[in-house]
Amino acid sequence: MVALTQLTLPCDLLRWIPLLPLAGSAINLFFGGRMGKTAAGLLASSAVAASFAIALWVFYLLPNNGIFRDLVYTWIESGSFKVNFALQADALTAVMLLVVTGIGFLIHLYSLGYMEHDTDMVRFFVYLNLFLFFMLLLVMGDNLLLLFVGWEGVGLCSYLLIGFWYRDQNNAIAGNKAFIVNRIGDFGFVLGIFLLVAELARQGVWTLDFVELEKHVKLLSPIAIGAITLLLFVGATGKSAQIPLFVWLPDAMAGPTPVSALIHAATMVTAGVYMTARLHFLFELAPGTLHLIAWVGAATAIFAATIALTQTDIKRVLAYSTVSQLGYMFLAVGVGAFSAAVFHLFTHAFFKACLFLGSGSVIHAMGGEQDMRKMGGLKEHMPRTYWTYVVATLAIAGAPFTAGFFSKDLILWQAYSSAHGSGWLWVVGWLTAGLTAFYMFRQLFMVFHGTCRADAKTKAHLHESPEVMTEPLIILAIGSIFTGWLGAPEYLWGSRWDKWLAPIFGAHEGAHHSVQLELGLMCLTLAIIAVGVLLAYRFYYKSSTAPDSLAALAGGAPYRLSFNKYYIDELYDFFIVQPFTAISSFFARFFDPWIIDGIVNGVGASARGLSSVWRGVQTGNVQHYLAAFLIATLALLAYFLRQQ
């Protein structure tokens, strides 16, 4: 690992990147109602645009072996333990900054069109800006505690945004679910931080600084590192929707569609990947944890993909595909290919944001309808949405020379060839690639091709979305192709991406396999992708009875299992939620009123009972007091006289 050169930016520029969205949020919160919806939206968007401009400039100034630091103030100081409220930008952060502010800006623009009919648009932009502030804090914090503040903050904002249309009970419940499931993960994360501090303190080092941590990480015992990384990974499974804590993400689709794009595709769910990449020096020392992460990632990838096969809600398909793609990222993390994981994060942000915004455009045109069985033939009505959707679908499926092709292929290759990788991991990833191609093209054909299955009223309403919504789609679609070219494999023109991140993650040594093998595996991947696309074409483009007969296979059990998401929600409900509520209600109905209240009331009652004995003494009559006074004086007098 190369020590990074410390640099400072003029004018404390770094702090303005998160501060501008925060300011936008605060201004809209207090004055947004008076400014009007459009002004509030424009203000929020321009705040993010300014952040994006600064981020671009920082990126331009930053040499890839340098690090910008901006110390705002010392936050906690206790003995030799010191935590700064300090921001940093190194090569990894710079990439995240561009994703967060860049895609965030496009989504803000899109929301201007998407939310214009909503009466609560101002509140929406307040949340959206606040979300970006916390996300930027998360990626820019120079210590684990500041990262955690951002981590919790995005959790809060996602709760607010998922439950944005809170008048519908289901949305509020979905918001709660996201918040609570995340909280479970965060619990592990907090424990991991505590353990890290405690273990380092035992070696005499008090710090949470990433740079300092990296220096001193060797002091820790392997067992301690294993435990710490496991706990931190629990946090990552919550935030980044991995097995077993992925259940909140599909429900999170209850929020407005731009939120799904922003939070649940491009930014928040990537926090777990970012965190593991940021702490790669810890994870690299814990081969056991890495192994677990790789398998959890691979299992999540294929598990979510099989669920996505049968979903009929346009956004749910995308939600499960997000879970699946995040699984890929953790697969890469697990085999030690942090650079590949962040690369997939980067490309995925583009095509997934494009897909979500595209689906939002469709939902907008369909007047709120999300069931794909009632769509079809939308190609003619909304050409721009259609073509961007095609590009993004190709990208996520991994068609050659799209962004997803490069990043997914890199991950699969690393899963096979890396020192931590294995052939089985590759097979799981390979199968998932085929499933991905199938369900994405199934969606494309169901929504945009064939005959329109909507009712007459919706049909008459069909229209292309306004420019402010389609322009971001076009930009994202372009990104969905060309961002991948940054990370091309060696046999093409080599990866600029790995070079850029090399000072962070170290140059990739790894066992050298032949290019022929790499090309061969790539061809296998392309083959299964082609099979997936062809099957989708046969099943859903040409009207075929094959899907129905497949669904009826084995008594329909596999279909029902997939359609009902393996009954995971029901299982959790039965084994965790219901016992938990039962215990809670026991405590609420019995323990709390009788035991807790009993103790408190008992203390009060016994004090009152004791005092009632003595209360009679206090008659209130001065003459009685004086008599007591006299008697006591005489007694004291007698006592002292007796003494002499």
Binding site: R615, Q618, T619, G620, N621, V622, Q623, L626, A627, L630
Partner: protein
């Protein structure tokens, strides 16, 4: 002048003091209570004077002057309080003034 023994003075003042104490404790009229306090003070004064004379020390007599001055002030304030209590309650019975208990 025939010398009266010290004990006579002490017994007299003890008797007056006791009358005062009983008056303070049992009378149902605040003015009488105040008068009883005066009795107690003057009984003490008598003791001081007697000892002063007996021992030939002037300090006792000086103390008496202080006591008289304080008693005068006390009488003034006490009577003022009694008047204002009476205006409020049309009563001077200390047994009826029990508001400060719970």
């Amino acid at each position: 002048m025939a010398l009266v023994p010290l004990n006579y003075y002490l017994i007299l003042s003890a008797v007056i003091f006791s009358i005062g104490v009983i008056g303070v404790l049992v009378r149902r009229n605040l003015i009488v209570v105040l008068m009883s306090i005066e009795l107690m003070l003057n009984a003490v004064n008598l003791t001081f004077i007697a000892f002063s004379r007996y021992l030939g020390a002037m300090a006792g007599q000086v103390t008496v002057f202080f006591v008289m001055a304080v008693a005068a002030a006390e009488a003034v304030i006490g009577l003022a309080i009694i008047i204002s209590v009476f205006r409020h309650r049309q009563s001077l019975d200390p047994q009826e003034m029990q508001l400060l208990k719970w």
